[in-house]
């Protein structure tokens, strides 16, 4: 892999000499090596060391044995095996449901004239920002005995037994999965011209056949969506410790959760469970590899035709609005109710005799507990989003072009593996890797600095952001770049004038996705934040932990609103400032 290939130019032009000069070879090797060293530093090393603890606790001071398999013996109990099967089922269900909904929303936004399409992107980002525990809390407020439905005279016991179980877990995780699926699929759908469907319809194909064609042409993006949502779901900690725990429905992370919560934390057992989670991810990758092997999806070239928006009938528009409304109610309405009602009520967010007022907001807005952590987190999220975007573009390019090579498959495994490990495990791996006495003695003090927290944020965001861009990157036909090079452009110029305009909007979505996902990230923030600096998520958790329920939820609502403002401003600036050509891709005629 050379720098030119990374940048999207052909490795060898027809006019280039066959034997590379020494300078070019050195430059090519170094670009590739720099990228892999970076991936190794931020992803492979922390994960590798954490996984090594399962076999060698003494390696990182977590026990006395230099080689043992006892952690696996402890971890592989009946409960874990049940948990693995449950996680597999939950992961597959969530991935499929999220991909279907994500595809549906992307289709409505890009291919129809439904009025609801105008707010869909905002809704998706709001879903992304809603923490899973808040969604669970919203459901509990609705369904609990003496809760909202009870006080309104309904009997929610039937719904309670459904939500407090696998169905509820899938619902909550789907709400968290839809944004990833939507962004991955909509980015690719934007790059799919109308010429394929036209050709099929001309040859007598019906609407269903056209839809099937679109789905198969979008395979890389759909598989990227399935893989990322699956990995996010099997590694989820928030729902495992709340809904799954309350419903006595063991999932794979539950054993891990207990091992990390004990004192002293049993990292070898947590590491053994992580191996199991990685095995699940390998299964997901095998499925993806089999589905995409030997096919090409490069549909975005110089001759792509503009899209045609379907004009929906009035009943169809109403139906789309209702379906989107249901999604909003389940994904946003319930948790918003939970959060807002709690933040408007003094004390513990109970219903009934408490006064509803804005006291918590006035108290929080003027408090340094909100302003400085929020500014600190917003700054870090912006830097993370920018750096991640550059790395994710390179990763997505490599995955799209080299999916079947060893290094491509390795990158795929590393990226997805990083998602499959719960955040707390990932953060502990960072402590193992960057808090070694030896590095300290050498004068390298990374742990406990904002720099290391940033690296961990980037590593946490990179897998998801790369996958969101994979669909787009799989579509680009190289002929455009070739044409530009033949006409005298350098590699960088041809990338900036040919590739960048095509991927500008997906890049913006990816930046905003990373920003919003990083702003309220909790486990990595808790373990790696420098002493004396508090990210907003830790501030919110502390407020809630000290029974300041109203203050904590008010901070949360304000943080979410601030992120939504950033999303709005981002899209507005793109509309105002981006050249017309950048905005044309995916535009319907």
């Amino acid at each position: 892999m050379t720098a030119r290939e990374i940048l999207g130019a052909p490795a060898v032009l027809t006019v280039a000499p066959r034997r590379p000069t020494l300078r070019r070879l050195r430059r090519g090797v170094s670009a590739s090596a720099v990228f892999w060293i970076l991936v190794a530093v931020i992803l492979i090393l922390p994960i590798f060391l954490f996984l090594a603890v399962a076999f060698s606790p003494a390696l990182l001071g977590q026990g006395t044995q230099w080689f043992t398999l006892s952690a696996f013996r402890q971890a592989l109990t009946g409960q874990l095996l049940t948990g693995v099967l449950n996680s597999l089922m939950i992961g597959i269900s969530t991935a499929v449901v999220s991909a279907v909904i994500g595809f549906g929303v992307a289709w409505v936004v890009l291919r129809t004239d439904a009025p609801a399409r105008r707010i869909a992107t905002g809704v998706v980002f709001a879903l992304l920002l809603t923490p899973s525990y808040l969604i669970a809390l919203g459901w509990e407020r609705l369904l609990e005995p003496s809760g909202v439905l009870d006080s309104l005279g309904f009997d929610p016991s039937g719904a309670r037994s459904i939500i407090y179980g696998p169905v509820g877990i899938v619902v909550v995780l789907t709400v968290k999965g839809v944004p990833f699926a939507f962004l991955a699929i909509s980015n690719a759908l934007r790059g799919l011209g109308h010429e394929f469907e036209d050709a099929l319809r001309v040859h007598g194909g019906g609407r269903f056949a056209a839809m099937r064609l679109v789905v198969s042409l979008l395979s890389p993006a759909i598989w990227a969506a399935l893989a990322i949502v699956f990995a996010e779901s099997v590694s989820d900690f928030g729902v495992a410790s709340t809904l799954a725990n309350d419903a006595h429905f063991p999932v794979a992370t539950f054993t891990l959760y207990n091992a990390v919560q004990a004192f002293p934390a049993d990292f070898p057992v947590a590491s053994a469970v992580s191996w199991v989670l990685l095995a699940l991810v390998v299964l997901a990758l095998v499925a993806q590899g089999r589905a995409l092997r030997g096919r090409s999806f490069r549909v975005l070239g110089g001759r792509s035709r503009p899209l045609v928006r379907q004009r929906l009938s009035a009943p169809a528009k109403a139906l789309v609005t209702v379906v989107l409304g249901i999604l909003v109610a389940i994904g946003l309405g319930v948790p918003t109710f939970g959060a807002v009602s709690a933040s408007l009520i003094n004390n513990l967010g109970s219903l009934g005799s408490h006064a509803w007022n804005l006291d918590n907001y006035t108290r929080v807005i003027g408090s340094p507990d909100l302003s400085s952590p929020l500014m600190y987190s917003a700054g870090l999220a912006a830097i993370t989003a920018t750096v991640t975007l550059v790395l994710a573009t390179i990763c997505a390019r490599l995955l799209a072009r080299q999916g079947s090579t060893f290094s491509g498959r390795l990158l795929d495994l590393v990226l997805l593996g990083a998602v499959a490990l719960p955040g707390i495990v990932f953060a502990a791996g960072y402590i193992f890797a960057y808090n070694l006495p030896l590095t300290n003695d050498l004068g390298i003090h990374l742990y406990g600095t904002t720099g290391l927290l940033l690296l961990a944020y980037i590593a946490t965001a990179l897998p998801s952001t790369s996958r969101v861009l994979v669909g787009t990157m799989s579509q680009i036909q190289e002929s455009m770049g070739h044409a530009s090079r033949v006409h005298g452009s350098g590699a960088l110029r041809s990338w900036a004038t040919i590739v960048l305009p095509i991927i500008a909007r997906p890049l913006l979505s990816a930046w905003l996705l990373t920003y919003t996902a990083t702003l309220l990230e909790l486990p990595v923030s808790q373990l790696l934040a420098p002493p004396g600096s508090e990210p907003i998520s830790v501030g919110i958790t502390n407020a809630l932990g000290k029974y300041d329920f109203g203050g904590g939820t008010a901070m949360e609502v304000l943080a979410v609103l601030s992120a939504l403002v950033v999303v709005g401003v981002g899209y507005l600036l793109f509309r105002l400032l981006a050249p017309a050509g950048w905005r044309n891709l995916g535009k319907a005629s």
């Binding site: 892999m1 060293i37 492979i44 090393l45 590798f48 060391l49 090594a52 003494a58 390696l59 990182l60 001071g61 977590q62 409960q79 609990e144 005995p145 003496s146 410790s241 709340t242 725990n245 309350d246 006595h248 207990n258 990390v260 919560q261 004990a262 004192f263 002293p264 934390a265 990292f267 004390n347 513990l348 967010g349 109970s350 009934g352 005799s353 090579t405 060893f406 290094s407 390795l410 707390i424 402590i431 890797a433 808090n435 070694l436 006495p437 030896l438 003695d441 486990p523 808790q526 373990l527 934040a529 002493p531 004396g532 830790v538 958790t541 502390n542 932990g545 000290k546 029974y547 329920f549």
Partner: protein, 364 residues
């Protein structure tokens, strides 16, 4: 990059990281048991910042007050107990904390066994209650105490008040009692261990306590994640009795105006288990920081320090019973129950994982 060079890169990473970690572990093994604090860094008058890992509502205020008094900077990592202890465990190879300050002494007993704590006898004089909480080797320092369980009940919904734990097994309390989940709530394992200690003692272990909790479960015990959730269940009449930490229970009675439907009151069933707030000093810090940390501990136990603790969160963590002479409890806090017990953290600490797993499988 082809497969061969990829494997080479990975091989280099694997070997170098194992070598780094291995060397570190070996170095650590030889240095961690050595007495730290060479004179080089302990130059007279030199000030080094202290790093305080703490899960108390008054920790940040205490850091500021101490800095104002002594000029010694304190960087506070303020978080919940769970993540802090995970951090401490992950840093075992190379601790970055100077002091740890959380509720409960079982984690400190474990750290003491691993020889990670610096023994220190503070200058303050302990009360009779305080003396029961001080470990014989002075490896950690109690700064105040709360208790588990406080039984908080809704006197507007029930007139029945239990006088012993066995009362809760009768039909009058069926389906009306709630408690927290020990896998999510820090103060709840000490509560359960307290029951086991009272019913079986160290000689008979956990069996009698397990039998009691099983009967309580048969009588309709409800389990909620944390103090806040159990209080919410009490407020919304899902339960009439909640077994929680004393500071959360007293805080609730202070925050809530009693109405015709909700009027919380508290009773303590014999025996109440003491749950102290505890500071431990990391043995690995240099002599300068050790001297500073000892000053911090002495300040926390001084009348001025105790006042800082009592002003920070008057409806929560500040509601502790002082354990040193010269400090009086907040007026809003009732007297400490007369029948209390102190758990041996060296015996009950190592059983935590086993008991929590049993509770998960059988009681929740």
């Amino acid at each position: 990059m082809n497969a061969r060079s990829c494997i080479a890169v990975l091989g280099v990473i694997a070997v170098s990281s194992i070598a780094l970690a291995g060397c570190s572990a070996a170095t650590n093994a030889t240095t961690s048991n050595a007495t730290t604090g060479t004179g080089a860094s302990a130059a007279a008058g030199k000030v080094e910042p202290l790093v305080l890992y703490a899960a108390e509502a008054y920790d940040v205020n205490m850091g500021k007050a101490f800095t104002a008094k002594t000029g010694i900077p304190v960087k506070v990592v303020d978080d919940s107990t769970g993540p802090l202890l995970t951090k401490v465990a992950a840093e075992k190879n190379n601790p970055q904390w100077s002091m740890l300050w959380v509720d409960g002494d079982t984690a400190f007993a474990s750290l003491d066994k691993q020889k990670e704590l610096l023994d220190y006898t503070p200058s303050a004089t302990y009360t009779s209650v305080g003396k029961t909480l001080v470990p014989s080797d002075h490896s950690y320092v109690p700064t105040g105490t709360t208790a588990v369980a406080a039984l908080i009940y809704n006197s507007a919904a029930t007139t029945k008040v239990p006088t012993s734990y066995s009362d809760l097994l009768t039909s009058a309390y069926s389906g009306k009692v709630g408690m927290n989940d020990p896998s999510q709530s820090g103060p709840t394992y000490p509560l359960i261990a307290g029951l086991m200690n009272q019913m079986g003692g160290q000689s008979k272990g956990v069996a009698a306590g397990e039998a009691y909790l099983t009967k309580l479960k048969s009588n309709g015990l409800k389990v909620y994640p944390t103090n806040g959730d159990t209080l919410h269940a009490l407020e919304t009449k899902q339960i009439d009795y909640g077994l929680i930490q004393s500071s959360a229970a007293v805080g609730e009675t202070l925050k809530v105006k009693a109405t015709g439907t909700y009027a919380p009151k508290i009773v303590y069933l014999p025996k109440t288990t003491l749950l102290p707030g505890v500071i431990g000093i990391d043995k690995a810090i240099d002599a300068t920081q050790q001297a500073e940390a000892k000053k911090f501990v002495d300040y926390a136990l001084s009348p001025a320090g105790q006042q800082v603790m009592q002003k920070a969160d008057t409806a929560g963590d500040s509601l502790f019973w002082p354990v040193v002479q010269g400090s009086t409890k907040l007026a809003a806090l009732p007297a400490l129950p007369t029948t209390y017990q102190q758990l041996d953290p060296y015996f009950w600490g190592p059983l935590q994982s086993q008991v929590v797993t049993w509770f998960d499988s059988n009681i929740k």
